[in-house]
């Protein structure tokens, strides 16, 4: 199968212009900044961060945990799309499947790194987690189910679905040959092999879907089970986490695929129809999440114990009002844009992207609004009220890890086809 037939699918490979190198340079710079901040944090301890003891007017879980929850949230996109493609035979979304899987892997990787950098004793943390792990702690499941189970299964999913493309690439002598021999692993393209793969992937998707739901709800349970923290202890945490994960996950996928579509000119493959579907799903999920926020806030404000009322007041009209209203308004705006387009049956890419961006901004704020105020204001004993703001160290570590994610993503697009080769593209020699 000649290069011309592959043609459009190989566009990412031959567009390694100056702009790409500039991007890589910027990303490396940001990662260096993050690395330097991490070096200081390791040598001088977390004192350099803005975190302080709960009760002494600070928050012990800061922006690192907020970003951890956000990243594990957006990892929702990968599996849900691939599962949709495999299980529901929605071939329409096949082109974005691999992008989703890659997003999941990188997001989970970043999430695990955020936990690691938040630990006071990171090296001991890794060892003791394996050695003395206790299932009674919700963190155990965050660690074993998400960081290993979910990440590992997505890797396998991607490996199996990528074997065929690797063999085609090898056959055509493109890119890095030894990499593809490993990745194809003796794959011989034939109808029977393709059937076998599809069957296996369908089975794996069925296995992974519960993992998906379990992972995000366990993350919710990390907070939802804590009777000690007003504002956390609600049954809605787990479902809310899954919903926001869906909304922000798909939103992130939309953003990434649109960026790839524009930079690599893959307009014919990534048709507007795909984005319409994703957009609708995201809009629906956002709508449900708005409903959940309202119900939680209503319950807190109406009859919550003093800690919760304090948080609700601070969020609605107090010190945290700007963050909370920015969050809720961006969700509502995103939902309205999608709903308007849905009602008028005319979708614009610009509309979908803006609402995807708004959802993610809202998600970033929402995660922190759940975690931090409950520690600084949600005291059940009469401590003085506290405040928390990330120090430059924390912000540069976050920026550094963001850059790492984008860096891995862009490198991957250079070494492996980002869009699965369709059936018609034959793999035989």
């Amino acid at each position: 199968m000649s290069k011309e037939e592959l043609g459009v699918y190989l566009k990412p490979f031959n567009r390694t212009g100056g702009k790409f190198l500039a991007l890589i340079a910027v990303l490396l710079g940001a990662m260096a900044l993050g690395g330097y901040a991490l070096y200081i944090q390791f040598t001088e301890g977390h004192y350099v961060s803005g975190m302080r003891d709960v009760g002494a007017g600070g928050a012990a879980w800061g922006i690192y945990i907020g970003m951890l929850v956000y990243f594990i949230g957006i990892s929702y996109a990968g599996i849900s799309v691939s599962a949709a493609v495999r299980l529901l035979n929605l071939e329409k979304y096949k082109p974005v499947a691999r992008m989703g899987e890659l997003l999941t892997i990188i997001a989970l990787l970043l999430g695990s790194l955020f936990i690691l950098f938040d630990l006071g004793q990171p090296i001991r943390g890794v060892i003791n987690m394996f050695q003395f792990g206790r299932p009674m702690s919700p963190l155990f499941f965050t660690f074993s189910v998400i960081a290993t189970g979910y990440l590992w299964s997505t890797l396998i999913f991607m490996y199996i679905s990528g074997r065929r493309d690797a063999s085609i690439m090898k056959a055509n002598g493109l890119g890095i040959k030894p990499l593809y021999t490993v990745l194809s692993g003796g794959y011989v393209d034939s109808h029977k092999a393709r059937e076998k793969h599809n069957k296996v992937l369908k089975a794996l998707a069925v296995a992974i879907l519960p993992l998906l739901v379990m992972a995000h709800s366990f993350l919710g349970f990390v907070f939802g089970l804590q009777v000690g923290r007003p504002g956390w202890y609600t049954a809605i945490q787990a479902p809310a986490f899954v919903t926001l994960a869906a909304a922000s996950g798909i939103g992130a996928l939309i953003i990434i695929s649109l960026v790839i579509r524009r930079t690599y000119g893959l307009q014919q493959i990534l048709t507007q129809d795909i984005f319409r579907g994703l957009g609708n799903f995201m809009g629906a999920a956002t709508g449900v999440y708005i409903y959940m926020i309202i119900s939680e806030m209503y319950v807190m404000k109406y009859a919550g114990p003093s800690g919760e009322v304090l948080i609700a007041d601070s969020m609605l009209s107090g010190q945290l009002a700007p963050y909370f209203w920015a969050e809720i308004l961006s969700f509502i705006a995103a939902f309205l844009i999608i709903f308007a387009m849905f009602a008028r049956k005319s979708y614009s890419l610009l509309g979908i992207t803006t609402s995807a961006v708004l959802v993610n901004i809202g998600a970033l704020l929402a995660r922190n609004m759940i975690i931090i105020p409950s520690q600084t204001l949600g005291m059940q004993l009469p401590y003085a009220l506290g405040s928390y703001f990330p120090s430059w160290i924390e912000i540069s570590v976050v920026v550094g890890l963001f850059a790492l994610g984008v860096f891995l993503y862009s490198i991957f697009t250079k070494i492996f086809p980002i869009i699965e080769f369709p059936e018609e593209v034959r793999g035989e020699r």
Binding site: M129, F130, Q131, F132, G133, R134, P135, M136, F140, S144, V145, T148, G149, W152, S153, I156, Y159, I160, R163, G185, G186, V188, S190, K192, A193, K196, H197, V200, L201, A203, L204, A207
Partner: protein, 67 residues
């Protein structure tokens, strides 16, 4: 051949998971002295290893010599 290899990996995986879960520190009433130690060290590690092995079954199945 692929089928047997897959079933073998799945079996090993599930056994490891079972061993891990049985020897990990128990979930239980915290009133008495909570036995916070696993019966054997690295029980959690074994549980994770088990989960990863069982997730390898599809690869084993696919990698098995196509008939």
């Amino acid at each position: 051949m692929g089928r047997t290899l897959a079933l073998l990996t799945l079996a090993i995986g599930l056994i490891l998971m079972a061993v891990g879960l049985m020897t990990v520190a128990p979930v239980g009433e915290t009133a008495g002295p909570v036995i916070s130690n696993p019966k054997i060290p690295f029980a959690a590690g074994i549980w994770v290893l088990g989960m990863m092995t069982s997730l390898l079954t599809p690869v084993a199945y696919v990698m098995g010599r196509e008939k």
